[in-house]
């Protein structure tokens, strides 16, 4: 395999890895606030692209307005999901897998509703900046790739500031460390849960909007994204948002190299094998201390 | 004969915290031994080192002269070292009598094939297990509620059920983790006489307890720990008079 081809696939791996990372952060934000693994995370990604497309093509909104609408709508949906599905189970202290099952079912409901209300056709979005790709030697760097990387880094930086410096962010971190103690400190744990869902839904939507111009979105793309995001979170040591982002980058790179050497058919099998290797041998992730 | 249980220099560190610090003592083959100490003295950690829920950082645990320091809890149970839990851990979906029948796991036989075939031998064994379980429930005063689901019993009854379940394993050393917590005076008195009766039958008993009344009435030997160290050992009367113990409890 030529070096240029390898470089090219590394670049695209890093770009998709950013997206996986954002989804992984979404998993961590909810997990930290509640101990819940939310499997509807993939639906947020799908809806981010899909609603932007609807705003753009059906309602003829400007691109930025369509994107903004999508992010806000998905965040609201996140809160709705939290209220009607997650909260009753959380109150009952339902087992983890019941929560996963319920959110997976929610994922399917959202998927099918999208299928019924929109259609089953793959849709794409225009690129943000319509210029020919930059050439670095033989490696082509599209502007959308730059948007993905820069947008993701900006979000990660924004989150860092949010968790470190704002009262709400600190409260969310406190919930992650010890929920009981947070309750005693009069931190409104239940509002934190709603906020966590809104935040991670919005993250998912942004990931979907950034990515869709380079690929496509359709009603059924959610589950693979959720799985990739989960793998990113596991690699990073579940519950560490920034670990999850790096985990996403790693997964993206491994996956594009796997596609290059094994063919695209085994793309998901490769990602899932990475997951199993981590679960079996390093469940605490790359940065965690193995027990 | 050697002691039933020997704890040698047991030490357990959690990061910088030393929860148990070089504790040594023996549980003789007969009678009731109690470990007491103020809250946070390291009693529960010590108990977990003995039951196998935790491994010590250093030191050894010997059961009937054999080193069991790194043995898994289920293997210790197979040797006759059976525990109860401070926060009762019953099998909520099973009835009281089924809970006790699980306790008889080690004392009965039969796997998947026996379950499916249901041979006369298997049925006879099931009958024996059931009779034994009901007899044990009668003994702890729960005969009337034998067929109730475990999670419908009152807290005090659940505690007694847990003791009956442990007895079904026919332990050689019975480990009781704060068995009187949450019991009223009457239940506590009944528990005390039950423990005495079990000990009289040749099972040695080690209990960790908060309730001084129960300890003074029940134990033959008392080990006092504070800040992870053993500070006294002796008969209840000796320990009660020990200045170090008085200081620990008052200070």
């Amino acid at each position: 395999m030529s070096g240029d081809l390898l470089m090219q696939s590394l670049v695209s791996g890093l770009a998709i890895g950013c997206v996986y990372g954002l989804i992984g952060i979404g998993f961590c934000v909810i997990y930290n606030a509640s101990g819940i693994v939310n499997f509807a995370q993939g639906a947020f990604v799908m809806l981010g692209g899909m609603l932007t497309h609807v705003g753009l093509k059906t309602w003829h909104l400007p691109y930025w307005a369509a994107a903004l609408f999508a992010v806000v709508a998905v965040a609201v949906l996140g809160v709705v999901l939290e209220r009607i599905v997650v909260r009753p189970l959380w109150r009952r202290k339902a087992p983890v897998f019941v929560m996963i099952l319920a959110t997976l079912a929610a994922q399917i409901v959202i998927e099918r509703l999208t299928f019924l209300l929109v259609d089953d056709q793959p849709k794409t979005l225009p690129v943000f900046t319509d210029l020919p790709p930059l050439k670095l030697g033989a490696v082509a760097l599209s502007y959308q790739t730059l948007w993905i990387v820069a947008g993701s880094l900006a979000i990660v930086a924004g989150l860092a500031v949010f968790f470190k410096s704002t009262l709400t962010g600190k409260a969310m971190r406190a919930c992650a460390i010890d929920r009981e103690a947070a309750l005693l400190q009069a931190i409104p744990v239940s509002r934190m849960l709603a906020l966590a869902f809104a935040l991670s839904a919005a993250l998912g939507a942004v990931a979907g909007i950034l990515l869709t111009p380079t690929q496509y979105t359709a009603f059924n793309v959610g589950v693979p994204f959720a799985i990739s995001g989960f793998i990113a979170a596991i690699i990073g040591g579940f519950g560490r948002p920034f670990g999850a982002f790096l985990g996403g980058l790693m997964l993206g790179v491994v996956q594009s190299v796997a596609i290059l050497s094994l063919g695209s058919g085994l793309k998901s099998a490769a990602a899932l094998s990475v997951l199993l290797v981590f679960l079996f041998f390093r469940p605490a992730g790359i940065f965690g201390v193995a027990k | 004969m050697t002691a039933r249980l020997t704890v040698e220099n047991a030490t357990k560190r959690f990061g910088g915290l030393v929860a148990v610090d070089g504790v040594s003592f023996e549980v003789p083959t007969t009678g009731v031994t109690a470990v007491i100490g103020p809250n946070g003295a390291g009693k529960t950690t010590l108990f977990n080192l003995i039951s196998g829920a935790l491994e010590p950082t250093s030191g050894r645990v010997l059961f009937e002269g054999e080193d069991v320091t790194r043995l898994a809890p289920e293997k210790r149970a197979a040797r006759g070292l059976v525990r109860t839990f401070q926060l009762v851990k019953l099998f909520a979906d099973l009835t009281a009598v089924e809970n006790v029948a699980v306790g008889a796991h080690l004392k009965s036989r039969g796997g998947l094939l026996a379950a499916l075939l249901g041979t006369p031998a298997t049925r006879a064994m099931e009958r024996r297990v059931d009779e034994k379980a009901r007899a044990l429930l009668d003994r702890v005063g729960l005969g009337a509620v034998a067929d109730r689901r475990a999670d419908t019993l009152s807290y005090g009854r659940r505690r007694l059920l847990e003791v009956a379940r442990a007895l079904a394993a026919e332990p050689r050393l019975l480990l009781l983790d704060e068995p009187a917590a949450g019991l009223d005076a009457e239940e506590s008195a009944r528990l005390s006489s039950l423990i005495r009766a079990v000990a009289a039958e040749g099972t040695s008993v080690l209990l960790i307890e908060h309730d001084m009344q129960l300890v003074m009435n029940t134990a033959d030997q008392v080990v006092v720990v504070d800040f992870g160290r053993k500070i006294a050992q002796g008969t209840p009367a000796e320990v009660k008079a020990d200045p170090a113990v008085i200081a620990a409890y008052l200070g």
Binding site: A94, V96, L101, A102, V109, L266, L279 | V102, S154
Partner: protein
């Protein structure tokens, strides 16, 4: 992973149910069985389309009964049992079409393969807990699906394998709807009978102990890892046989048959019927299969309905239909 909320006094619950007469508990306990018998009976008498639906339901009932051993009796979780159904199904399909094996021999080979895989992956997987176990098993199911799609030289990929012979032992071959239905009813009944036997045995009590508290089970000398693996193998065996039956009854197999859809459908059936009960998987499989058929023509709404029903049951009736009856019977003094 049983939840006994400490906020409500369990004693109060016991008392609340105490006045319920024994008769009502018994009737409620029998009701799901009556539903099962009535539906199968109707299918046998009426035949035709409904018997196809019931046949499909009975195959799922077997699959869900096995899953129930692992999830209901042992309180573990698997999102990946479609993998074992796929191994059973594809082994049967390939051996009977390409190599002219008899259905029974092929089913046996599939079962052996499924058990071997379950033993190999069970060992590392069952040490996982909570969301790790959920995801690990999900990954196994998805990888198996990918393999079914990609390994075209054997599985023919998305095209699938058709022309699979119907069920037969020796010279007997179940060809008519009724014959197939009788074979499937007997198989599902045998499956349920085994679960009932397991449940009331020393083996089953050990599984229930693991479900209640692994720590307490170990303290009583139960080898938790071995029992979990045994439970996993049993459920994998059920899944494999269900997969084999499916391909023989339908005569065709493709990766979609054993996709994530199968897992969600099975979970819905398990929860509708009542997890941890013997009759639950049967009644759940039959009802869930019948419901969308009443709305035939609305195929697009099926998955939506499954998903919404699953959420509603998880949130509002976590013990399912059979669980309701069970509650009355066991708590009655």
């Amino acid at each position: 992973m049983t939840n006994s909320p400490d906020t409500i006094s369990p004693e109060a619950i016991g008392k609340a149910f105490a006045p319920v007469p024994r008769g009502l508990g018994a009737i409620l306990g029998f009701a799901p069985w009556l539903v099962v018998v009535a539906l199968i009976g109707t299918a046998l008498v009426v035949g035709g389309y409904i018997s196809t639906v019931v046949a499909f339901a009975l195959i799922y009932a077997l699959f869900v009964s096995g899953l129930n051993v692992f999830m209901g009796l042992t309180a573990q979780v698997s999102f990946g049992h479609n993998a074992f159904a796929a191994i059973g199904g594809y082994t049967s399909a390939v051996l009977t079409t390409a190599y002219d094996w008899s259905p029974i021999a092929a089913m046996g080979a599939g079962l052996a393969g499924a058990l071997a895989l379950a033993a190999v992956i069970g060992w590392p997987t069952l040490r996982l807990k909570g969301h790790y176990l959920s995801m690990g098993t999900l990954a196994i199911g998805l990888i198996t699906y990918e393999i079914a799609v990609q390994w075209t030289s054997v599985t023919q990929g998305y095209m699938g394998i058709s022309g699979i012979p119907s069920l037969g032992i020796g010279r007997f071959e179940a060809v008519s709807d009724r014959q197939i239905l009788v074979v499937l009813t007997l198989t599902a009944a045998l499956g349920a009978w085994c679960v009932a036997r397991i449940r009331r045995s020393r083996f089953g009590r050990a599984l229930a102990a693991i479900a209640g508290s692994e720590e307490a089970a170990r303290a009583l000398g139960i080898d938790v890892a071995s029992y979990k693996l045994a439970s996993f193998l049993i459920s994998a065996g059920y899944a494999s046989i269900a997969g084999s039956l499916f391909v023989h009854v339908v005569g065709y197999v493709s990766p979609e048959v054993f996709g994530l859809h199968m897992v969600i459908l099975a979970f819905t059936m398990l929860y509708v019927g009542g997890i941890g009960t013997v009759v639950g998987p049967l009644v759940g499989a039959l009802l869930v299969s019948m419901l969308p058929e009443t709305f035939r023509g609305f195929r697009d709404y099926q998955d939506l309905a499954y998903g919404a029903a699953l959420i509603a049951i998880l949130v509002y009736a976590p013990r399912g239909l059979a669980g309701l009856a069970e509650l009355f019977r066991k708590d009655a003094p």
